[in-house]
């Protein structure tokens, strides 16, 4: 309990720092720290699957994205000081936010007893999915349609980002070109770390069927390693108009949707799996979905095309 109180205070302190810091750089560092501490909280709440996602996506990839944005906006920070809202607005906002927090806190304290739960149903039907991890079972079997729609949402966000490119750059290469590292340190570490990272990513994806892990966590690590490789100039991002890239992006949702439709014929419903082949079908969906999500996440960080296709 003492540990948890300390951790909760630390989370709140880092969050307050993120809001209060003058410098945007420092605020982003605070945010990365916040994500890391939340991962610890999720471990304490016995939710290792969420802890993995928070560490990889909430802290890692979001942190990298915001760091990149803050360096590109670095020169605009000073001018914003004039736009600060007046003291009255600030005070009113503080009152409003305290009320919101108090209300949410009251709800937490007044949660019904005994707590409603779907855990028994999830556990009882776990054997039918052939999976050992109940969270993966929820994502891939019980609520598979949510996950299918989510992969589509990711693609829509990517289409939105690409649409921001000026006309003459449409179909070009995303992001700026990173400068070559002056003394090769970064090249060295990338050559060492990227293969290890890819291995860890595949492991986290693979272990997801029986233990905490899964396609989102694995795909996030793969995406981070791809971005790492481009930062170290081991490789450059492909132009967004490449046919193979488009194929990689849609293969996951397409296979997911196709197997979902096939469910009508073989198991009597959309996204229904026949019990004997449930695990095989889920894996058939998961492999391309992981690939598609990894590519989508990496390109989401990359941003709209900024270099023309030559």
């Amino acid at each position: 309990m003492a540990f948890d109180i300390g951790l909760a205070i630390l989370v709140l302190g880092v969050a307050a720092w993120t809001i209060a810091a003058r410098d945007t750089f420092a605020a982003v560092i605070g945010f990365v720290a916040y994500g890391l501490l939340l991962a610890l909280v999720w471990v304490r709440l016995a939710a290792p699957d969420v802890a993995l996602t928070e560490a990889a996506l909430g802290s890692g990839l979001t942190g990298g994205l915001l760091l990149g944005a803050s360096t590109r906006l670095a020169r605009t920070q000073g001018s914003a000081a004039i736009d600060k809202p007046s003291a009255i607005i600030r005070r009113a906002a503080a009152v409003l936010c305290t009320l919101v927090s108090a209300g949410l806190g009251a709800i937490v304290l007044l949660l019904p007893e005994p707590a409603p739960t779907l855990a028994p149903q999830a556990a009882a039907n776990l054997a039918a999915t052939g999976l050992g991890n109940p969270v993966t079972a929820v994502l891939m079997a019980y609520r598979a349609i949510d996950t299918l729609l989510e992969t589509v949402v990711l693609l829509l966000a990517l289409v939105g980002i690409w649409s921001l490119a000026p006309d003459q750059l449409w179909g070009g290469l995303p992001g700026r070109r990173y400068p070559v590292d002056r003394d090769g340190v970064l090249t060295f570490v990338a050559q060492l770390l990227v293969p290890v990272g890819i291995l860890v990513g595949i492991y986290i994806f693979w272990v997801g069927s029986i233990a905490p892990g899964g396609e989102f966590q694995g795909a996030t690590i793969l995406a981070a390693m791809w971005i790492f490789a481009t930062m170290a100039r081991l490789a450059d991002s492909p132009a967004v108009s490449r046919r193979w890239l488009r194929l990689v992006l849609v293969v996951g949702p397409a296979v997911f949707f196709a197997i979902g439709l096939a469910g009508f014929a073989i198991a009597g419903g959309f996204l229904a799996y026949p019990e004997a082949h449930a695990k095989l079908l889920i894996l058939t969906i998961e492999v391309p979905v992981t690939l598609s999500i990894a590519a989508t996440l990496a390109l989401l960080v990359g941003g709209p095309p900024e270099r023309a296709l030559r």
Partner: protein
Amino acid sequence: MTDATLYGLCGAALVGLGLFGLIVHPQPLRKILAFNLIGGGAFLLFGVVARRGASAGLDGDPVPQALVITGLVVAFAATALAVALLLRLFQETGRATLRSDDSQP
């Protein structure tokens, strides 16, 4: 008080803190940061519901946990879109504020 309740109160406070940042910060990037802080707090509230639902040999209710994983991914997509919009605004106007054009010559 259980650990879950403690973290639930922590989540409630985080939502308030993030909301405050969202309102008072003039820079859009700080607003995006604050939006993600709110997200973290809201997900923690789900975590409390999941932890309290521990039964049938599971340490928590897997359904809210899966919802949080979905939520984290969608929040990331929204953040990436917001950042791209902001950078494009900066490229186009040389400014990264949300003030309307007529307030400046």
